[in-house]
Symmetry: C2
Subunit: 279 residues, 2 copies
């Protein structure tokens, strides 16, 4: 048993969205300790340039490495889209898992029609990382990528059900799945990848528009499965049995992080559970 196995898993995101990934990790790997960093002072990453996001991701990683994490989960689609090569180059000994490749892999595995849709923030869509990861696995895949930035605001506001969420989902997704006129569309995508950590909170409204024939992939669960594999491969799994602890760091607004974050984590968080850090 490597002593390193007792060290925590580091998880970072631009804010609270990555807590859906932490939740999936805790469910899948309950014996592990976790150190979560939300870079709330600079959220959202989704509207920022690749260059800025890469710089922020390097700073987040430095802080988590300094605190001794054994494996890094980039629980932010924007950062996973643009910053992984820079992180892997800067920390060659550190296993790094992003959320893009696990979601892309699950999408390729699940589709029967080879027609995939990915919904994400503006910059994730524009950056093209999902499209590239999917094409690498399955070059002939037909991919539709669509930016749905309002879902982020709805998740943060807690308006995950009701007419605003339903109408927003309809406006974004009906053209994709049902055609503009509301009639069933033959030949639409049969699989939908949620390419933003905020989107699992809106899965009911999204599924209602996509319809029962469409598989929806939550990249939090697929990322947790990939982390389990990487721990097994590297011999870094916690000696267990757990349950492990989770600690929370934020670069700004601990009270808001706790209040909004609780919805993403699926359990209450108090402002005292969150420590402020500078990057």
């Amino acid at each position: 048993m490597d002593h390193a196995a007792k060290r925590p898993i580091g998880v970072f995101d631009s804010g609270v969205g990555g807590l859906t990934v932490l939740k999936a990790l805790q469910e899948r790997l309950p014996a592990e300790d976790y150190l979560y960093l939300g870079d709330t002072a600079r959220l959202p990453y989704g509207t920022k340039s690749a260059q800025s996001v890469t710089r922020y991701a390097l700073q987040c990683t430095r802080l988590l490495v300094d605190r001794g994490v054994k494996l890094l989960v980039v629980a932010c689609n924007t950062a996973s889209s643009v910053a992984l090569p820079a992180l892997e180059a800067a920390y060659p000994g550190l296993p790094v898992v992003g959320v893009v490749r696990p979601g892309a892999r699950a999408g390729c595995r699940l589709t029967r029609t080879r027609k995939l849709a990915v919904i994400a923030t503006e910059s994730t869509v524009a950056g093209g990382a999902y499209q590239a990861a999917i094409r690498e696995l399955c070059p002939e895949m037909e991919i539709t990528a669509l930016a749905c930035p309002l879902f982020v605001a709805l998740a943060e506001e807690g308006w995950t059900e009701g007419p605003v969420a339903e109408e927003t989902a309809r406006r974004y997704l009906a053209p994709l799945f049902n055609g503009q006129d509301g009639e069933g569309r033959e030949g639409g995508p049969d699989t939908l990848v949620l390419g933003c950590t905020h989107f699992p909170l809106l899965v009911r409204a999204i599924a209602a528009v996509a319809g029962p024939g469409v598989s929806i992939i939550d990249s939090a669960a697929t990322t947790a499965a990939e982390v389990a594999e990487r721990l097994a491969e590297t011999g870094l799994a916690a000696p267990g049995p757990g349950p492990g602890a989770a600690r929370f760091l934020a670069t700004d607004g601990a009270a808001r992080f706790a209040r909004v974050g609780g919805r993403f984590l699926g359990r209450g968080l108090a402002a005292e559970d969150v420590s402020l850090v500078d990057l």
Copy 2:
């Protein structure tokens, strides 16, 4: 005629929202030159702490002062709420106009029932600057302050009309103006201050819920009127006749700034019109 009068007016905001203020300034004071700075790398300010927002505002002001502005408009409600004392202390010779006091003053002037409502971002509401500014002018005012963060996302997405905007306005505002049951409420506020520069884009949806008896105050126009007064007082008005020029600076994402900003400015902006700057 002071040579200083020929210098531009500096305007800053966390992003594109302040362009509604610039638009009002250009309409009211067409002979002036303007230098607009959107701190898009760090938007939104509305979810960040007062300490961070003050630090950012000082950096924005330093850049605009270095470029020779004669008067500073803080076209961001969050920064106007928390940072004006620090800016005035750091730059004692510079006239500084925020967007909070003009809106508060117009609200106090217009209400007949002494019942005012203010809608804004979370941090503007929590910071209490509108409430304080209104109470200073009229201590016995009955004030309701309500955070409506989804309006920001709707304005940026361009969904300013249609069912999502209408339903969002209804969910936020119907309890204020009509009661939860949709019945007319006697004794509700007769004046509504839009305490966020994004909100004028949604004025139709907001007015539809507030009803015809409620005066809506757009702080962009009231701020432009205050700037006109300050220029007259200080002898700094441009020799004119104009039209003056406007230049645009952003700390990230020039293409997105131009695309989204055009909606706020009410005229097309090209990415080439926007220069990237570092703070």
